[in-house]
């Protein structure tokens, strides 16, 4: 049986964005409907995960928030063309690769993660950035090791493609050699 309540309403409920009367009416229904309870639980799980999630490409603001909640970061400054070892120390929650670049004219950014042989591991199109930051921030998280393609390629390239308002593309590659404690 499918849930007769639309997904947008369930998202609004978990976002705290339903008027009181609608929220009460929805709860009346949820307590009587197995299918909608299951659908609501899926949205709740996602909302719960999001409340704690850190995206792989972050902005300075995301790190400030992480620090405010007690998260510990280690910064790894990397220049274009450089091959940089990076130790993910035991006392760090997140290893942040700060890929230095000029973002002043960037309209759109993509970040490709490659194995050293150039094989694509992941591409993040339309990645977030702060134009004033002077760097793209990659938040390397310990649980990424659970992803086979990353665990098998601890040494990797980060390829930044920046596109300006005229459509001109600038490409820079950074090499990071991960070591984990």
């Amino acid at each position: 049986m499918s849930c007769p309540v639309d997904h947008e309403t369930l998202v609004a409920y978990w976002a705290g964005d339903l008027p009181r009367a609608e929220s009460d009416a929805l709860e009346d229904h949820l307590f009587a409907c197995d299918a909608c309870t299951a659908a609501s639980a899926r949205v709740a799980a996602l909302a719960h995960g999001l409340a704690r999630a850190l995206p792989p490409i972050v902005r300075p603001h995301d790190l400030e928030r992480l620090h405010a909640h007690g998260g510990r970061t280690v910064m790894n400054e990397v220049l274009p063309g450089e091959a940089k070892p990076a130790l993910f120390s035991r006392d760090a929650d997140v290893l942040v690769h700060r890929l230095a670049c000029d973002l002043g004219h960037t309209q759109r950014l993509s970040v490709e993660i490659q194995a050293l042989d150039g094989t694509t591991l992941e591409i993040f199109e339309d990645a977030p950035f702060d134009a004033e930051a002077g760097a793209v921030l990659v938040a390397c998280q310990r649980h990424f090791l659970e992803v086979d393609r990353f665990a098998a390629n601890l040494d990797m390239n980060f390829v930044l493609r920046r596109r300006d308002a005229e459509g001109r593309e600038t490409v820079d590659t950074y090499v990071v050699l991960h070591r984990f404690e």
Binding site: H7, E8, V11, A12, Y13, W14, A15, G16, D17, E27, D28, L30, F31, A32, T37, A39, S40, A41, R42, V43, A44, A45, L46, A47, H48, G49, L50, A51, R52, A53, L54, P55, P56, I57, D62, R65, E122, F124, E125, D126, A127, P128, Q141, H143, F144, E146, V147
Partner: protein, 184 residues
């Protein structure tokens, strides 16, 4: 007598013993535990507080059933939801929570509780977030990490609250598909 009929029979004796078997009590707890937990998460915003609410509400429910005080057994969910609302209102008012009963009296095995929400693969979710467009990512993080309203997000992004709601819904649907859940 099957468990559900036993349950109906037990709770429909006004003023009677209302006694139902342990299997029917367990079924009753399992039927409502997830709903109570979700209600607690939504209104108390905390997994531990939600788990406490599950215990407290189920104990009130069982006690009421045993004493035959539930007048409308066909709509037990109304009783349970009403109890949830009353207890959450008390918690919000800072009143001491009712713990009349020992938790040991609850016929719900530890592993019978609905699973915590830690099953979401954090690495998978992180990757999925990376594939959201920048605006969708911003909206879901502002919503669920910073608990900002659609109006506040709209002001920050220079758009309308209605548009924020559309972006939020689409981003959540995309994430749900990406993490491998059922179609929203």
């Amino acid at each position: 007598m099957d468990e559900r009929r036993e349950l109906q029979h037990g709770v429909s004796e006004p003023g009677g013993s209302g006694a139902i078997g342990p299997d029917a009590e367990r079924e009753l707890c399992e039927r409502f535990a997830q709903r109570i937990r979700l209600y607690g998460l939504r209104h108390l915003g905390d997994e531990a507080a939600a788990a406490d609410l599950v215990q407290d509400v189920l104990l009130v429910l069982l006690h009421s059933v045993r004493e035959g005080r539930i007048q409308d057994p066909a709509h037990l969910e109304r009783f349970v939801l009403g109890t949830c609302r009353n207890l959450v209102a008390k918690i919000r008012r800072g009143e001491q929570r009712t713990r009349t009963f020992e938790r040991a009296a609850l016929p719900l095995a530890e592993d019978g509780l609905p699973p915590a929400f830690s099953h979401l693969d954090a690495a998978r979710l992180g990757s999925c977030l990376g594939h959201l467009d920048a605006r969708g990512l911003r909206v879901v993080l502002l919503t669920f990490q910073e608990e900002r309203s659609a109006e506040e997000i709209a002001a920050e992004l220079g758009t309308t609250p209605g548009n924020v709601r559309v972006i939020r819904h689409r981003a959540m649907a995309a994430l749900q598909r990406c993490v491998g859940g059922a179609e929203p």
